[in-house]
């Protein structure tokens, strides 16, 4: 499992990309999807996930819709047009970062 320290700066990128690929998602679904994609090596903690989601929403990159499910309320997140336009840039920025890190740490990336 990767350390949460490493994850800190990448969380927003993960969230934006996931929402771009899946349309609308709710919190728990996001953690499960990340777990699945990373073979259980990235476990998003709720303590990091929800603040990030709310921050992105406050910045206008995400919008939410709530669905009543019996006694519980489910909140789905989707990208706003602004958010959508940012995804590609963020992902390529991060890929670029990995490449730079490879150079800095003198390791070969496949």
């Amino acid at each position: 499992m990767h350390s949460p320290e490493l994850l800190k700066g990448t969380l927003q990128t993960i969230l934006l990309k996931l929402l771009k690929d899946h349309g609308k998602m709710y919190g728990y679904e996001i953690t499960q999807r990340v777990k699945e994609l990373s073979d259980g090596r990235i476990l998003l903690t709720e303590g990091a996930l929800y603040p990030s989601l709310h921050k992105l929403e406050a910045e206008g990159l995400l919008k939410t819709e709530t669905v009543m499910m019996g006694k519980r309320v489910r909140k789905y997140y989707t990208l706003t047009p602004v958010g959508k336009s940012l995804v590609k840039e963020r992902v390529s920025e991060f890929v670029d970062f990995i490449r730079t890190m490879g150079n800095v740490l003198q390791v070969e990336l496949n």
């Binding site: 728990y28 709720e46 929800y50 990030s52 709310h54 519980r72 309320v73």
Partner: protein, 249 residues
């Protein structure tokens, strides 16, 4: 999978643990319900599943921290923060309305009085500064104790002026003023009552730098019964600008 009772239990328990913020509360309930459902699918009892999920959140402290961080990340804008401060301030004022009233009223009255005092002082030290020699002009004040009475007067005996000039070398000049109520001023036939008529010494213009429009300030008041008038008074009595050689009685 979860019954309504289970969900009610989770909502109530989270509430009890202090998860009350609008927006995050429903979300955490749903998250925990989903996680509990997943756990229960593998045959775990509800309460065990619930406590396992709670543990992964870090129990009450972790839940509260999540709530706190979420609220903080939403309110990162300075504008929102100030708005929040303002709301809290208003609520506090409402809550303690009596003390707020005393505080606000007291502060207002205090500030108002302070401002009045400042205005008064500024006014007191501002006037009569337009004379060129303002810093060298003094007014005589008399303090007299006589027959058991204590007088504080801005009057002095007529001889004071001459005495000061002749016997005190630091006094360069002395001017006397005398005001005796209003006078009737006559131009030709009509009498006009004037309130501001003041008798003074001939050296008035030497001490007080009053700008002169017409005439010679050296000699204007040299002769008895001569007069110096302001532009407004001149216009009042001689509207046609034919001022010289006319008489006022």
């Amino acid at each position: 999978m979860l019954t309504d009772d289970h969900i009610s239990y989770i909502i109530k328990d989270l509430n009890y643990r202090g998860i009350v913020a609008e927006g995050i509360q429903d979300e955490l309930v749903d998250h925990i319900c989903s996680a509990v459902e997943t756990e229960m699918a593998s045959g775990v009892r509800f309460i065990d599943a619930y406590h396992k999920i709670l543990k992964s959140f870090g129990h009450t402290a972790g839940l509260r921290e999540t709530q706190k961080q979420t609220i903080r990340s939403e309110n990162s804008k300075t504008k929102d923060m100030l708005k929040n401060y303002f709301t809290v301030a208003i609520r506090n004022l409402r809550k303690h309305s009596f003390y707020s009233f005393i505080n606000v009223a007291g502060l207002s009255i205090g500030l108002a009085i302070c401002m009045i005092i400042i205005l008064f002082v500024i006014n007191e030290i501002s006037y009569d500064k337009h004379f060129a020699n303002a810093d060298r002009i003094y007014r005589i004040k008399s303090e007299i104790k006589f027959g058991g009475n204590h007088y504080n007067m801005l009057y002095a005996p007529p001889v004071m002026a001459n005495t000061l000039v002749t016997e005190y070398p630091e006094v360069e000049a002395a001017i006397r003023f005398r005001e005796r109520g209003s006078y009737l001023v006559k131009r030709s036939v009509d009498n006009i009552k004037e309130d501001n008529v003041i008798w003074t010494d001939k050296d008035f213009f030497k001490v007080f730098s009053v700008p002169v429009i017409a005439g010679n300030p050296e000699t204007a008041l040299a002769e008895p019964n001569s007069i110096a008038i302001s532009e407004a008074i001149a216009n009042k009595y001689f509207p046609m600008k034919m001022r010289w050689g006319k008489l006022l009685y």
